[in-house]
């Protein structure tokens, strides 16, 4: 027979160097993060302090959780631009609900639990709406979520009359620990982020559902022809995104105790940028949750380093951020094979 195509299975040789290359590719974002941290520690003595690192991780947790939801959506070749506006809306409405509900739920953990449940439901419902319009209504994801992006924020602005929606002061103490508290020395938002990241990675890599998400993003026709319930899975990714936004809003509210029309501004771009930096292909088919977390940290550290050093003129902050994002993406190989 032909000896070009060796039939004996499991041969290495050529596989050896391919594997090494793949490892370097995959480590791209992590490499960028490490380089960034080295630069940070060189440029500022306060950078590697426990408090600073904790601050940045905690701040990044909010966008991080949203970005993990976005990883699912993008892996299935979808897009959700409305997440920032939805965060503002969920935060604002949750605050209003909690303010009104003190009568029935008191001012303790029961009220907080009610607020959390409400946020998750609202987030999931908004996600379902997006998903249904995109999948069943057959309108482009970009268009639908551009629209809901405007609608959500408008509604929030209308509800707040342009000002801020604030949590009653009596409730502040009850919700404070969600952002400012810590368990075993680690801030609560960080723990939540880790928990969600681990769960999401397992779902995306090891479950049937996760594989269906990647298959749909890789080639929707093939998925349909292979008995995958395409519509159902796609809508679910948007619901997951909405749930993540709900969780993120819950974590956000205690920070300032208020939601304003400028809450969540540009969060969608940061979330999507984190996903891409982390190695998930924008065209879908491959998702990397841990990469997304690394991406969020990279963005968080960039802004942190720029604040910690007076070195670069603050006018150029945006330019530095943009340049670093491009470099981080270049460190990965082209993922068009999906």
């Amino acid at each position: 027979m032909s000896d070009i195509s060796a039939t004996h299975v499991g041969s290495t040789g050529a596989t050896g160097d391919k594997k090494a290359l793949k490892l370097v590719e995959a480590a791209g974002p992590l490499l960028a993060l490490i380089i960034l941290m080295i630069i940070g520690s060189l440029m500022s003595s306060s950078f590697l302090g426990a408090e600073n690192l904790s601050n940045v991780f905690t701040r990044s947790a909010i966008i991080g959780i949203i970005a993990i939801g976005a990883t699912f959506v993008i892996t299935a070749d979808g897009l959700d631009l409305s997440v920032g506006s939805l965060s503002a809306l969920v935060a604002g409405v949750a605050i209003m609900v909690m303010n009104k509900a003190t009568g029935s739920f008191g001012t303790g953990w029961l009220l907080v639990a009610a607020g959390i449940v409400f946020s998750l439901l609202l987030g999931a419902a908004a996600g379902f709406f997006n998903g249904a319009m995109i999948v069943k209504g057959r309108v482009e994801a970009f268009i639908v979520t551009l629209g809901t992006m405007g609608v959500f924020r408008s509604v929030l602005t209308w509800l707040s009359d342009g000002g801020s929606i604030s949590l009653d002061f009596s409730l502040r103490d009850a919700v404070r620990p969600i952002y400012y508290g810590s368990v075993g020395g680690i801030a609560v938002p960080i723990l939540v982020l880790i928990a969600i990241a681990v769960t999401a990675e397992i779902v995306l890599r090891r479950t049937r559902f996760g594989r269906h998400v990647a298959a749909i993003g890789s080639n929707r026709h093939v998925a349909l022809y292979s008995a995958i319930p395409v519509d159902r899975v796609r809508i679910l990714t948007y619901v997951i995104q909405g749930l993540c936004v709900g969780i993120a809003s819950v974590i956000y509210v205690p920070r300032l105790g208020a939601a304003t029309p400028s809450t969540g501004l540009m969060w969608e771009l940061e979330a999507i940028a984190s996903v891409i930096i982390g190695g998930t292909a924008l065209g879908g088919g491959f998702g990397r949750v841990w990469g997304t977390v690394v991406g969020v940290l990279i963005l968080g550290f960039i802004s942190n380093i720029l604040n910690l050093t007076g070195f670069i003129s603050p006018y150029l902050n945006g330019a530095v951020q943009g340049a670093i994002i491009v470099i981080a993406v270049l460190l990965q190989r082209d993922r068009s094979q999906g």
């Binding site: 500022s44 306060s46 302090g49 408090e51 600073n52 601050n55 701040r59 209504g137 057959r138 309108v139 602005t157 707040s160 009359d161 342009g162 000002g163 801020s164 604030s166 400012y180 920070r255 300032l256 105790g257 208020a258 304003t260 029309p261 400028s262 809450t263 501004l265 802004s303 942190n304 720029l306 604040n307 910690l308 007076g310 603050p314 006018y315 902050n317």
Partner: protein
Amino acid sequence: MFSKIRNLVAAGGLVLATMSGSALAADATIGISIPAADHGWTGGLVYHTKRTVEAMKKAFPNIDFVVVTSSSATQQVNDIEDLISRKINGLIVLPQESDPLTEPVKAAKAKGVFITVVDRGLAEKNIEDLYVGGDNPQYGTAAAEYFKKKFPDGAKIVVMRGIPTAIDNIRIEAFQNALKDSKIEVLDMQYANWNPDKGFEVMQDYLQRFPKIDGVWAGDDDAALGAIEAIKQADRKGVAVLGGSGMNKVIKLVKDGNDMVDADIFYPPTLIIPAIELVTMKFATQAPINGRYVLGSPLITKDNASEYYFPDAPY
């Protein structure tokens, strides 16, 4: 099928929109073009505008008002052109930015429209018939004076700038000028964009970077709220926080006595109120009014705080 319904709804919406735009016959129409409510101050601006317009409409039913908000300078240019084509008699405009808005406003002036410019000026002088404004240089100077008075023997402070615009530049320049030859040292100035979330982040990082901070000028009250939370979390004591613009929440803190915030700078969005009232008077009662009305930006302290406190306003 679905797409047909979609198209029908869109067409219907369009018809409704154009219908609502037609003006009824009135003695005069006043067009108001202001920035959209994208942060606290502009939120207050829109609120007070609407409130005043309602009141004026009740008092003078023969005067018509058209209010448009825009989220960018380019959109505002389009808005003004639309207003001109609706044949307004008076235009009250708070320009997003001076330069791009100068030409359209000039064009309106050439058509005989009575021009009122609020707060931010145009690039050329003498276009407007009436100017109602805040005093941005005084804003910056008042902040500098506050820190000089509070720390007569010198101090280390940090500064947060606002959205990169002409106003921010004017205020910061005045602030820096007033601090020349003083013992106040400015450690750094980063952008917080008058945003509470950004204020929080920037303050956290300042606290990491500088072991000793005596005071922070957050640029305005939104950013100040963020800074306050960051200071609380870091459990740092003895940091004086100054914001600006007179947000009711912060004024309350000043009124009630607060160890971090003991002052504010008056620069509220209520300056639109006299502008609208004056222009309405002009058309309703034939009261000729021209000139410049500059409302001061004094420092608000515990002593005079109750004067400036509007608990029901959104800002």
